[in-house]
C-alpha cells in the first residue's frame, strides 16, 4: 500500500537535531472567532525564512519552552514567503499559551511536515473541497493554489460548515473566492437570528448539485465523523476512493514517525499523512477507536 509521495525534506529541521526547534517571531496575531486565532510567524534567521517552503496541507510543530509542542497545520498562501500563518484553536496548554503571545515574541518552529494535498496532480479536474470547523485552515493553502492557477481547474466547489454562524472562519474572504469562480457553499449546524444561509451538516450539501464522477476529486478535512460522511456521499456519487483525499488529526510528538503516537494501522499519520488517499486508509478508517 502506498501513501502519497513524501514531501521534500523539512527546511526547518536538521537530521541531527530532529527535535530542535528553530526560532521564529510573531509578526501578527489576531482573533478569528471566539478562542480561535491566526498567528503569523517569521524565522529569526532570514536565510531560513527564505529557504522555507511548504505545500498545501502540511503542518508545523510549534513549541513554547515550558509548555510543550503542538502540531498545527499551515493555513497561509504557499506563495506568500515573508511569514507563515497558522490558525489555531485554543484548546490545550500549548495552544492557549500561543494565543497569549504578542507581536515580537519568540516561538520554536519545526517543519514543514507530512504529505500534502496532491493539488498539482489534479490539474484539469473538478475539485470538491469539504471542510468542517477548524478543518478549513489546512485546506485554505489549496484554495490559494487554485486561485493562483484558476484556469488549470474545472469546477471548484468549497463546502464549509461550522456549529454556528459565529464559528465560521475566514468569512471575509469568501466573496473574493466566489469572484474567482469558486462555488463557496456554507452551512451551520445551528442557525441564529443573523443567519440566512443553509442549516445542516456538511455532507448534506452534496445534495445541492451534481458531480461528474469521472472528473471530480475530493479533498476533505474536519471532524472524523464529518469526514466519514463526506466520504460516504462522495463514494455514493461514484467518485473513486483513490481520488478522495482526507487529512487526519492524531496526537503527534516528533513529526517524523519516530515517537509512535500518530499510528493508524501501518501508517504514521505525521509522515505517511496527514493527507491520505481514502483508498489507502479505508481498511482502518472505518474501525472504531483504531
Amino acid at each position: 500500500m502506498t501513501t502519497l509521495a513524501a514531501s521534500k525534506r523539512p527546511a526547518a529541521v536538521s537530521s541531527e537535531e530532529l527535535l530542535n526547534p528553530c526560532w521564529a517571531e510573531v509578526t501578527d496575531l489576531r482573533e478569528e472567532i471566539d478562542s480561535t486565532f491566526t498567528v503569523w510567524l517569521k524565522f529569526k534567521d532570514p536565510a531560513l525564512q527564505k529557504g522555507y517552503a511548504f505545500e498545501p496541507g502540511q503542518f508545523n510543530m510549534l513549541y513554547l519552552p515550558g509548555y510543550g509542542e503542538a502540531a498545527i497545520s499551515i493555513c497561509s498562501d504557499p506563495e506568500k514567503r515573508d511569514a507563515i500563518g497558522h490558525t489555531v484553536r485554543a484548546v490545550g496548554n500549548v495552544t492557549r499559551a500561543i494565543g497569549r503571545m504578542k507581536k515580537g515574541d519568540e516561538i520554536g518552529l519545526r517543519g514543514p511536515f507530512g504529505t500534502h494535498w496532491p493539488i498539482e496532480q489534479l490539474e484539469g479536474r473538478d475539485i470538491l473541497l469539504a471542510a468542517g470547523g477548524i478543518g478549513l485552515p489546512p485546506l485554505r493553502p489549496a484554495v490559494y493554489h487554485i486561485l493562483h492557477n484558476r484556469a488549470k481547474y474545472g469546477k471548484v466547489i468549497l463546502l464549509y460548515g461550522a456549529r454556528s454562524p459565529s464559528d465560521l472562519l475566514y468569512t471575509n474572504e469568501f466573496e473574493a473566492w466566489r469572484k474567482s469562480d469558486i462555488d463557496v457553499q456554507v452551512t451551520v449546524d445551528r442557525a441564529d437570528d443573523t443567519w440566512k444561509g443553509q442549516v445542516g451538516v456538511v455532507p448534506l450539501l452534496f445534495y445541492r448539485f451534481r458531480l461528474d464522477p469521472a472528473k471530480t476529486a475530493v479533498m476533505t478535512c474536519g471532524p472524523e465523523i464529518m469526514i466519514r460522511f463526506v466520504v460516504f456521499e462522495a463514494l455514493a456519487r461514484r467518485i473513486p476512493a483513490d481520488r478522495i483525499y482526507v487529512s487526519l488529526e492524531r496526537n503527534m510528538k516528533c513529526g517524523q514517525g519516530f515517537c509512535g503516537h500518530c499510528q493508524l494501522g501501518p501508517f504514521f499519520v505525521c509522515k505517511d499523512g496527514p493527507v491520505f488517499p481514502y483508498s489507502v486508509i479505508e481498511p482502518y478508517f472505518g474501525v472504531e477507536e483504531f
Partner: protein, 374 residues
C-alpha cells in the same frame, strides 16, 4: 596453544576464568562493562567487574504473572533468563535530556551535552540481540536517524550468550530469534561446564580476544553446545504459530476476544515497558519554578497511557479494548509493514510481568480459534 588462528566467524574455547581479563580489557579500552546481576530478587543489567558479579548457579522460574530466582542445579554463570529490564534502556534511555532553554532576554537553546557512553553489554541473549536489531530499524532509518540512539549503538560492544536454559514464558524458537544467535554480536559465548565457546562476530571482537589463553574448540565441546541448543529449542515454555500473521490480526479488528481481554487488562503499560522492542516516546518539559529554565526531555511512553492518543479532537483510543488491540495488532501485525519484521522476539517478558497474567500467545491463539473474517 597461544597460536590458534583467529578470524571472524570462527569459534574458540575460552577458559571460564578468562572472562575477567576479557572484561578488564574492555574497560581498558574505555568501555563500561554491563551485565546481568541480581538485585531485589530479580536480574537487572548493571555494571559488572567480572565473574564474581554474575548470578552463578541461578536461573529463574517464569510463568504468566510470576517470576522467581531459583538455583539452577549447576555452577554456570549465564543460566539466568532475562528479567524485567531489557538492553533497550542503554540505547533508548527511559529519560534523556534533549535540549535546555534559558530565558535570558529571549530563549536560548543549547543542545544537551551528555555524550554517548561506550558500553560493553555482556550476556545479551539471542532474543535480545534480535530486539536490538528491531529497534535499529525504528531508530536508524534511511530518511532519518535518531542521533542519541545512533551514537550509543555505534559505541557499544556486544557479548552475546547463547541460551541453554529457556524459561516458562519463552518462545524465541517460534519467533525464529533463538536460542542460538545468528549474528549482530561482537563475541558470542556458549557456556559449557568447563569453558566458554566463543564465536567471533566482528573484527572488534577478534581484537579483544588476541593474547588471551584461548584453546581450539574441541569437537566434543562443540557437539555438547549443539546438543544443548537443540534441547533448549525443545524446552520453550510457550509456542506461537506465526504463519498467518499479520493477516490474522488485521482482519479481526472487531473480534470479540478484544473485549474479553480488555475486561482483564488494567492498561497499566507493564508489557510495553518490559518489551525490548517497544519504541514509543513522549516529550516533556521540566521547568524551574521561576520559569527561567526549561529542560526538554524524551521519556518512554506507552500506547496504554490515556494521554497517548489524545488530541484536540478527542481521544482516538479511549478504551482499554482499543489500546490492547493497538498494542497487539502493532506488535504482531502492522509492525511488519512498517519495518519488514514482526515486532516480537519471543522473550516472554510481557507475559511474565503482566499483573493479571495476560499471555500474548494465548490471545493470538484465541483470535485464531474463533476467527471472524470480515
Amino acid at each position: 596453544m597461544a597460536d590458534i588462528p583467529l578470524s571472524v566467524g570462527t569459534t574458540v574455547a575460552l577458559p571460564k576464568d578468562q572472562l575477567d581479563p576479557l572484561l578488564s580489557r574492555l574497560r581498558d579500552k574505555g568501555y563500561r562493562t554491563i551485565g546481568p546481576r541480581i538485585r531485589d530478587d530479580a536480574v537487572v543489567y548493571e555494571p559488572i567487574e567480572g565473574l564474581a558479579d554474575l548470578p552463578r548457579g541461578l536461573t529463574s522460574v517464569q510463568e504468566a504473572g510470576r517470576y522467581r530466582i531459583v538455583a539452577s542445579g549447576n555452577q554456570r554463570y549465564f543460566d539466568i533468563t532475562p528479567g524485567a529490564q531489557s538492553w533497550k534502556q542503554f540505547f533508548f534511555p527511559p529519560r534523556v535530556s534533549l535540549l535546555e532553554f534559558q530565558k535570558n532576554g529571549g530563549w536560548k537553546k543549547h543542545s544537551a551535552t551528555e555524550s554517548a557512553p561506550r558500553l560493553a553489554l555482556v550476556g545479551v541473549r539471542p532474543c535480545e540481540l534480535a530486539a536490538i536489531e528491531i529497534q535499529d530499524r525504528a531508530f536508524l532509518r534511511e530518511d532519518f536517524t535518531d542521533p542519541i540512539y545512533r551514537d550509543r549503538r555505534k559505541n557499544a560492544f556486544l557479548v552475546a550468550v547463547n541460551c541453554l536454559h529457556p524459561c516458562g514464558t519463552c518462545f524465541c524458537a517460534s519467533m525464529g530469534t533463538g536460542p542460538k544467535a545468528s549474528g549482530g554480536f561482537d563475541l558470542c559465548l556458549t557456556e559449557l561446564d568447563e569453558v566458554f565457546l566463543v564465536e567471533i562476530g566482528t573484527d572488534a571482537g577478534l581484537e579483544m580476544l588476541k593474547g588471551l589463553p584461548l584453546k581450539a574448540a574441541d569437537k566434543a565441546d562443540v557437539q555438547k553446545a549443539e546438543a544443548g541448543l537443540a534441547s533448549a529449542k525443545e524446552r520453550m515454555g510457550r509456542t506461537l504459530e506465526i504463519g498467518d500473521l499479520p493477516d490474522l490480526l488485521l482482519k479481526n479488528l472487531e473480534h470479540p476476544e478484544w473485549q474479553a481481554v480488555a475486561a482483564r487488562c488494567m492498561s497499566c503499560s507493564s508489557c510495553t515497558l518490559v518489551c525490548p522492542t517497544c519504541f514509543c516516546w513522549d516529550t516533556q518539559d521540566r521547568t524551574s519554578l521561576d520559569g527561567a529554565h526549561t529542560e526538554r526531555q524524551r521519556v518512554w511512553d506507552s500506547c496504554f497511557n490515556p494521554g497517548y492518543s489524545h488530541q484536540a479532537g478527542g481521544n482516538t483510543r479511549p478504551t482499554t479494548r482499543s489500546r490492547y488491540r493497538q498494542w497487539l495488532t502493532h506488535k504482531f501485525g502492522s509492525w511488519k509493514e512498517q519495518y519488514g519484521v514482526l515486532g516480537c522476539v519471543g522473550c516472554g517478558r510481557c507475559i511474565t510481568w503482566c499483573p493479571v497474567k495476560i499471555d500474548v500467545t494465548e490471545e493470538i491463539a484465541a483470535l485464531r480459534k474463533e476467527e471472524v473474517r470480515s
